[in-house]
């Protein structure tokens, strides 16, 4: 027993939130998903919420595996459907703090519509998207977030499409909290995760992460470490800018920061104050006099 106590002391301090039996995880050396999860664990520990009041939902993908490693009520759903699953979970049990951890392909290629509508409805969940600019899990195909010009297995001559500007889409759809950070920027990331998790309503944090195996290799971006440094050098923090300016494109630094932090009633708040709505809608039968 004594022995055991001693080992306990020297467990990794994050192990209490990990399913240790499942370590090591599947992520490649230096993959940004791991750092993002590390930051998330820091946040969850700091928040002090009873872990039984937390629930994580993931879709499918390398990032989608996060749900399987966090020692919480955790749901590894289908590709693209983490958000509607989380919506049902949250609405059925509002006392849970429900967050989604998934990849760019999962949340914005196949799952883009659910993001849009959950944001619009202001469902009180938090979305962490690890944007590694491609489909890592299936070996590196183009995603809706692959930079123009990048080589992937399905854009062997370079991607001709533009990547979705996630902060802009999130803002256009009504998210109340929108931020973007690099996976290596673990301190700001943890801070931002914290803000997002305690914010009532639909919050969104985009985590830009290197995928050395599937994305970096084909684009000769070097090892995870080299990619991390490259991403660092090619980005700049500009809190509060209009999301129109967060486009990721060649010749520009990627803009990081917190872009949206507003207040509006959540879906559930709306339901409980619905009686106040009576007759307030566009169009007014008396003509409005504004602009």
């Amino acid at each position: 027993m004594k022995q055991k106590a001693k080992v306990e002391t020297h467990r990794h301090p994050k192990d209490e939130l990990l399913r240790e039996a499942r370590m090591p995880h599947i992520w490649c050396p230096g993959c940004g998903i791991g750092s993002a999860v590390s930051a998330a664990i820091t946040t969850l520990k700091k928040m002090g919420t009873d872990y039984d009041r937390l629930a994580i939902v993931s879709g499918i993908g390398c990032t989608g595996r996060v749900a399987g490693y966090l020692n919480l009520d955790s749901f590894h759903t289908t590709h693209g459907r983490a958000i509607p699953f989380a919506t049902g979970l949250k609405l059925a049990k509002p006392e849970l703090n429900v967050f989604v951890f998934s990849g760019d392909g999962d949340l914005f290629s196949i799952g883009g519509n659910h993001f849009m509508h959950a944001a619009r409805r202001n469902i009180d969940i938090t979305i962490f998207c690890v944007n590694n600019m491609n489909y890592g899990m299936t070996g590196g195909q183009v995603s809706a977030n692959t930079p123009t010009g990048a080589i992937t297995t399905t854009t062997p001559n370079g991607n001709t499409e533009i990547p979705l500007n996630l902060p802009s889409v999130a803002a256009a759809c009504g998210a109340v909290y929108v931020a973007r950070w690099l996976s290596v920027d673990v301190r700001r990331l943890a801070q931002s995760f914290h803000e997002a998790l305690i914010k009532p309503g639909f919050s969104f944090v985009e985590v830009i992460a290197p995928c050395p195996t599937a994305f970096g290799r084909r684009n000769r971006l070097g090892s995870a470490l080299e990619m991390t440094k490259l991403y660092n050098k090619n980005s700049v923090i500009r809190n509060g800018v209009h999301p129109d300016e967060t486009v990721i494109e060649e010749g520009k630094k990627m803009v990081l920061g917190k872009f949206v932090d507003i207040q509006r009633p959540t879906f559930l708040e709306g339901l409980s104050t619905v009686s106040q709505l009576k007759g307030t809608m566009w169009p007014q039968k008396k003509v409005a006099s504004n602009s």
């Binding site: 919506t87 049902g88 049990k93 519509n113 619905v274």
Partner: protein
Amino acid sequence: MTSEAVLTGEHFINGDEACAEGALAVGCRFFGGYPITPATEVAETMARRLPAVGGIFIQMEDEIASIAAVLGAAWGGAKAMTSTSGPGFSLMMENIGLGLVTETPCVIVNVQRGGPSTGLPTLCSQGDMMQARWGSHGHYEIIAISPSSPQEMFNFTIRAFNLAETFRMPVLVMADEVVGHTLERVTIPPAEEIVVVNRKKPTGSPETYLPYKTDSSFIPVLPDAGDGYKIHVTGLTHDERGYPGMDAKTQETMMTRLIQKVRKNRDQILDYEDYFLDGAEIVIVTYGSSVRPALRAMRGLREDGINVGLLKLNTVWPFAEDLIRKLAKKVEAFVVPEVNFGQISLEVERCSSGQALTHLISHAGGGIHTPQQVVEGVKETLRMLGSKRTKK
């Protein structure tokens, strides 16, 4: 259960509304859905009624989101339901599979309309019966029940929830446009007379708990999110801990149990009604709204001295395999009126193993058989049997 949830009394309502009332009566408190004719009134009734009983109604952005939300809500502890028709049912298939392997209790109502594709949105068919069985990828067993009247829409929806909670799986209510849209008297009993099954919850210590370990019932005892068990739920092949296991062994263990859960409990799941089977020469096998013209046809035929019985399948899946096998040995023929080109009749044919003739009376959809069509089908069967009548 608030009394508002159970509208005890007599109502002249349609099957869709009756279905919603059944759900409310048995404790459904989450509905995530998307409108589609002829199932829309289920959603509309839930939208009107749920807020008053403390439940949540949400119209999702599509049917995929609807079933996903229902699964999420089920893990949040709610009895949850969605309703749709063919096109939406097709879209739900992937996540019905997720519900099956994660053993999520919920109810999916399909009010069938004419298909394939957009087909005949306002008209009837029974074209999705095999889809209910096989529509999601991978092999699984499913439970599907088939009401034939508004009253059964009420009763069977209650049963669907009870089966879902008992066996921890999605249960399908395979209704059709005629059942959904016909108005008729529906009697809602007092709340205390309604049988309500609630899912079993684990009680042991979270440390030693193995979520997907089961006893001889093959049914796991699972917590809701927030119960302190820190459960991992995945659509990947998983072991008793719920953890992914990417190998044939884990697959075999998991899948065999999932299949056995239904097959070994078949007797508890099966439900049927029979009419004049004793000594019947011909048995009409029927389900859903086809039951109604079939019953009328049966009475007419019997009045004409034809020895015909009727088997009304209330549970369609799992199929009443043993019953048909047994009957096949006794009767000359099965007559199966279906509003499709032969689905349940294939199963009847398979299980009769050549011992009784199986005669499909097909209807392409856009309505149901008239009693006369069933009568003619039986008479044709008699002609087909002709001199071959040897049994007994």
